[in-house]
Amino acid sequence: MEIRPILSALMRSKVSMILIGLQVALTLAIVCNALFIIGQRMDRMNRPSGMNEADTFTFGSNGFGQGYDAQAVLRSDLALLRQLPGVADATNTNTTPLSQGGWNSPINLQPRQKSATANTAFYMVDSHALGAFGLRLVAGRNFKDEEVMPMDQGDRIQPSAVIVTKPLAETLFPDSDAVGKQVYLGEDSPPSTIVGVVERMQQPWIDSSTIEYSTLIPAFMPYGNYSRYLVRTEPGRRDEVMKAVEQKLAEANSGRIIGRMRSMEQTRADAYAGDRAMAIILGTVIVALLLVTALGIVGMASFWVAQRTRQIGTRRALGATKGDILRYFQTENFVITTIGLLVGGVLAYALSLWLMQAYQAPRLPWYYVPVGFACLWLLGQLAVLGPALRASRVPPAVATRSV
């Protein structure tokens, strides 16, 4: 296929060529960057929390009035929850992963350290936490019942034993086993001993830069008259147990308010609602953009075919096959698209650079642009196929007719 006649034909309709090229260029730049942002959001949303999210739910209880004994209610609630049919395990906890609210504190190797060794989230739980959250213990042991101390808000955090996540253990003690080692949770507190290590448990904040650093503290700790529970049910029975729990706990004590039962799946959906929305909105823009560009190519190619019907007829009359005509329009599209893509590649990196500067976004990985090239080449060829086939069916006799 000789390219020169195509180029000289293109030179005669420079503006149309520039318009299609510009459209392709902008499309490539936007699609690459938007896809990259979507990819980042998906990666974020796919990070495992480390806990069983399918069969768990959480809720709060708020006591009111004088003489409400939050400690006693906490114990009796836990006893009640654990013997309900369908409940696999239950614990008290101040918060859960993905909940976006919790307690963050330094964790140190020395008392009165000036800058923290690491920052960790606290989960104030009892000895059933591993079972209730569905955490995987990879070293050491679970809390013993006698290690779980009653605590009140405002009390100093000074547990004798703690369980930490594996990433936190590795940061604190990079060269040795963390189990049995001592850490300091407050400047005037006595040391706490790491008794166990769980594989993973995210902090409650999805935007935390240290999301893998969590610490379990054995404590019965209501927040004033408020306490929170996490329940794991037998597989598939979550929704049914949620209803039963709501009713049973309200019956057990009328001097309090049982908050809304919230499944961990719902908690995850709420936490990542913004990321999901961003991905969906950008996805919609990408689809609309590709559609508009494809339709633009179809429109322009149809116009060219119509404009050149006589010339096509002449070529056919002079011996060009249908395939020659088809290939002519396909090559023409390829040339225009390629020019557009070359400009678009530069634009894509420029846009990425701007996003990096204005929003501290990471750099667009190099392979997005070549993949974008391939996709838009394909899109261009598909879009031009219809008009090109129509062109190839122009009969040679057209050449002899006057317009």
Binding site: N62, S115, I257, A273, V285, V292, L295, G296, F303
Partner: protein, 434 residues
């Protein structure tokens, strides 16, 4: 003549329905995408209290650790400690001032048919109402004497009054909260805040406060705030230690009615912190800030980065749609070279041809604009579904409707300009040869 051109335009558009539809839908999609995102961006960034946003100032003091700054970029903490809040309130150096925090309390309705429920309210001083100007439906705010006397009074939000008293005038009645009775002194009317700008620390896009209670009264309850609390060192054991600690959990606003008052207050804050330094507090360099409402919104990034990026990409998409329309109009008008040549030969001036084709582009733009407006409505419904907390800012107002239509027409005329210019350069003679 214009109506004739309009008819010509419509007829020409009808002749190529697919091409016309492509152009209209193209513009509509571009308009809808950019207007949906622009609306959210515009309302998120809109000034919530334009008549006095430059007088209300958010008070920040830097009481953070000597070893590390509160924030990497050197911004002071976004809240103040209890002892500084109380000291600054007692000094009373601003024209009006208030401190506040968020508190969740159980409400025990007198009406036995209603189950007790948990309510989120705001604990603050009397000046709050004069500063942020919510309208009262019944009664009025409590006064400064009641602040001083730790009065057990409460102002209810409209919804709470609806729930407890069926919307009746409840002033003078009492409401039991966590076992204590409070006398209702006022009930707010509907307070249409797009976002809760007076407490950005605990989230701008949240449900409105359900009740308001004097700060002094609430502190007696010894209940921790439901909002954010940050400490750089352990507060120590118990409630009194917590109140005396360097933990920040209270928001403070000062109303300063003139730039001179602002400068005076800034000087007062600096001298207050210098005094405190002598007592061994405030180990960091002097870093007090008084940002006004819009500066504070900027600082706290009320307009999310995601919405900014979406708006940018949506406008880039609009540009692609316009380029697309230019191409299609160009193709269309070029095919009409013969017709144009004929009209020119019959005496039409370039100006006539220009008007005729610009009107045709205008029709495309207007149709695209209206379709775009409909799609913008749908787009905002989608945004409200995707971001439930943005329901107050994903709303079309007449300004945005107007902007949409103007944008659509300007866009289509811009797109039509070059093809039209090309069309009227057609040489009659060249087209009339057979």
């Amino acid at each position: 003549m214009l109506t004739y051109y309009l008819q010509l335009g419509l007829r020409s558009l009808k002749r190529n329905p697919i091409l016309t539809a492509l152009m209209v839908v193209g513009i509509a999609l571009g308009i809808a995408a950019s207007m949906t995102t622009l609306t959210v961006l515009h309302l998120m960034g809109s000034n919530p209290i334009p008549w006095k946003s430059d007088k209300l100032h958010y008070v920040q003091l830097d009481n953070w650790s000597p070893d590390e700054p509160y924030s990497e970029d050197g911004r002071p903490p976004d809240q103040v400690t209890y002892r500084d809040a109380v000291a600054l309130m007692e000094a009373g150096k601003a024209d009006k001032q208030t401190v506040m925090f968020k508190l969740s309390l159980p409400i025990q309705p007198e009406n036995r048919d209603l189950k007790p429920f948990q309510a989120l309210g705001r604990v603050t001083y009397a000046d709050f109402f004069a500063m942020f100007e919510p309208r009262f439906k019944y009664g009025h705010a409590w006064n400064r004497d009641q602040d001083a006397s730790h009065a057990r009074v409460v102002v209810l939000g409209k919804d709470m009054n609806e729930k407890l008293f069926g919307g009746q005038d409840s002033v003078g009645k009492s409401v039991r909260m966590d076992g204590i009775d409070y006398t209702i002194v006022g009930v707010l009317d509907e307070w249409k805040l797009r976002f809760r700008y007076y407490d950005l620390t605990n989230g701008a896009f949240v449900d409105p406060d359900e009740f308001f209670m004097p700060f002094t009264t609430a502190v007696d309850l010894k209940r921790r705030a439901s909002g954010n609390n940050s400490c750089w060192k352990s507060p120590g054991e118990g409630w009194d230690a917590f109140l005396g600690s360097d933990c920040v959990w209270i928001q403070m606003w000062a109303q300063l009615d003139s730039p001179a008052r602002l400068a005076e207050y800034k000087a007062f804050l600096d001298s207050y912190v210098s005094e405190q330094k002598k007592l061994g507090r405030f180990p960091r360099p002097l870093n007090n800030r008084l940002l006004d409402v819009t500066e504070w919104m900027e600082d706290q990034r009320v307009v999310s980065r995601d919405v900014e990026v979406q708006t940018g990409l949506a406008f880039a998409f609009l540009v692609v749609c316009l380029v697309n329309t230019i191409g299609l109009l160009l193709a269309k008008f070029t095919r009409k070279a013969g017709e144009i040549g004929l009209r020119r030969a019959l005496g039409a001036s370039r100006r006539d041809v220009f008007t005729q084709f610009l009107i045709e582009s205008g029709v495309v733009g207007l149709s695209g604009g209206f379709l775009g407006l409909l799609l913008t409505g749908l787009g905002l419904v989608a945004v409200r579904a995707l971001y439930s907390e943005y329901r107050t800012v994903a709303q079309l107002d007449w300004m945005m409707v107007l902007t949409t239509i103007v944008l659509a027409i300007v866009a289509a005329l811009l797109a039509g300009l070059y093809p039209t210019w090309r069309a009227c350069r057609v040489q009659p003679a060249a087209q009339l040869k057979v």
